[in-house]
């Protein structure tokens, strides 16, 4: 704790920011993170370009959720640098909030606000963070709710919706902030099988429209259809990354083959 320089979140923003590749929307270099003594993320290097769709897969406990949660500082990392759209992630609250504004996040457990209606869930951040007028925010929210195909639920509360509907609202809520990139943290893992498709359909649609997406998921079919690149993580490291065709048909590492054997053949 004494050695503050070891904590990148406490470093001053460096001019190095400018040197990093301008075309990378997300630029992660030398990222390391520990939970106590446990080394969760080990020397992660990852660049994601604008418009790219990246799927991260791997066994549970491999650090994939932790990695994407580091990108909007829901988790603090101890070493390395994360730059999102030219903003370096530091301990500076302003920077954290700037990044979070540009990065949409969809959670496994939806995390809708249960005391607000669907519409209010969607307009809250645009009104309070982007300072949009209420009318304008509601108009935009309704457009996104239409795109995820639940405009008729706008005045209900989250508790009255099914899991699949709630997750679609969660996606719409993030989109209302007009983010540069969307992070998905196992968006279909908490859903009944019947509802997985309706959420995946929305995500595929979103990918077609050119949204930059970083998605932790076990849906290999989705990865094959949508991803530009599939990343396989194990024990906190990136083991392999490749375009889906190559990744699924011709995995290079033994560990990847083993994992794919377990998820694909059942």
């Amino acid at each position: 704790m004494i050695d503050y320089l070891d904590e990148p979140c406490l470093q001053k923003p460096l001019s190095q920011t400018l040197e990093q590749k301008a075309s990378s929307l997300i630029d992660i270099r030398g990222l390391n993170k520990w939970y106590g003594q446990f080394h969760v993320l080990r020397d992660i290097d990852l660049q994601i370009h604008k418009g790219e769709k990246v799927v991260i897969c791997g066994p549970s406990g491999s650090g994939k959720s932790t990695l994407i949660r580091c990108i909007n500082c829901l988790e603090e990392h101890q070493q390395g640098s994360i730059v999102v759209d030219g903003t370096r992630l530091t301990n500076d609250l302003d920077n954290i909030e700037t990044i979070r504004r540009e990065v949409g996040m969809v959670f496994q457990q939806f995390n809708l606000f249960p005391h607000l209606t669907i519409l209010e869930n969607c307009t809250l951040a645009p009104i309070w963070v982007r300072k949009q007028a209420k009318k304008e925010a509601e108009k935009v929210a309704m457009e996104y709710l239409e795109r995820v195909q639940i405009p008729d639920q706008a005045h209900k509360y989250p508790g009255q919706l099914s899991g699949g509907q709630q997750q679609r609202v969660a996606i719409a809520r993030s989109l209302c902030m007009n983010p540069e990139v969307m992070l998905f943290d196992e968006p279909t893992s908490a859903l009944d099988p019947e509802m997985i498709k309706e959420v995946l359909d929305v995500m595929i649609e979103l990918a077609r429209e050119g949204m930059t997406m970083l998605c932790v998921t076990h849906e290999m079919g989705f990865a094959r259809t949508v991803a530009d690149r599939v990343i396989f993580m194990d024990e906190g490291q990136i083991i392999e990354q490749a375009p889906p065709a190559e990744f699924f048909d011709n995995p290079r590492s033994e560990r990847t083959r083993q994992f794919l054997g377990q998820v694909l053949n059942h």
Partner: protein, 361 residues
Amino acid sequence: MSDQMIPARKPPKQSVGLLVWSKNNLFASLPSTVATVLIVYGLYLLLPPVVQWGLLDATWWGSDGTACTTEGACWAFVTARLDQFIYGFYPQDHQWRANVFFFQLVLLIGWLTIKATPGKKWVLGYALLLMPLVSWWLLYGGLGLKIVATHQWGGLMLTLLLALCGMVASLPFGILLALGRRSNMPVIRALSTAYIEMWRGVPLITVLFMASVMLPLFVPEQVVFDKLLRALIGIVMFQAAYMAEVVRGGLQAIPKGQFEAFGSLGLSYWQGMVLIILPQAMKLVIPGVVNTFIALFKDTSLVLVIGLFDLLAIVQAGLNDPAWLGFAVEGYLFAGFVFWAFCYGMSKYSQRLEQQLHQGR
């Protein structure tokens, strides 16, 4: 396997007559029947004498104790002194000011509780920001009104005043303390924790004594704090510590995902707390908050120890009046009933509030 789906049918009729209901609930088995009979017999023994004493044989009006009989209750003691019980030693020709205060209170509470009334936001704003000043001006005086010093205040008026100010001030203070105790900043957290643990560990009587006897010893002589104000500050400080722990319970019940959700949308700490976390947490702790409010309401009677005459104290004082000796039962029953009525009202209102705020989960 059947080809046809079974259509939905209505549930069987559930309504039953009084006879069937009592057979099911009161006389279902031998022990149940015995219990029912015993309880009804007990009530038969108990209730008629109480009604006889309290209502039928009671004396309602009179100017001193001789008006009352020995058989029935002497409510004349209460009716004759009702003025004092309500206003304390507030001068008679200025009691209209207290009445305006009461009327304002009833109007506001009615406005805020009845669902259909418009402009709740403004009314609440008035109640929290302007009303304390207006009420102070009304009751204390100044700006054209004759000044009535606070040592003349008393009775139900004082009880309500202490309780209301205590509630209105201790809730926000308690919320801040609860947030402080959960803060990431170590200094704020330590200070909040120390505050809460210190005030919670001290009896209210001690706090009131400190406020009234010790505090003046520590401040310069020129600074004269009103005794009522000192007691009020003591009560607020004390109750805020309790309130903080109740609110903290609610904060801890909010899933971590809610904090992450508002954070990931770019909302700041305070925006998230005010818009997302506190509305949910406060809904969860309504029973606890009302519990604390009720305790606070009754604790106000402890101001007796520093020479302020709240409702209970003034009833007690009335018992020593030579013209009304020996009516302690009636006096305490009356005081108890008034306290109960207010507390029950709060409890009922909180139940309704919980229902209104319930959103399908």
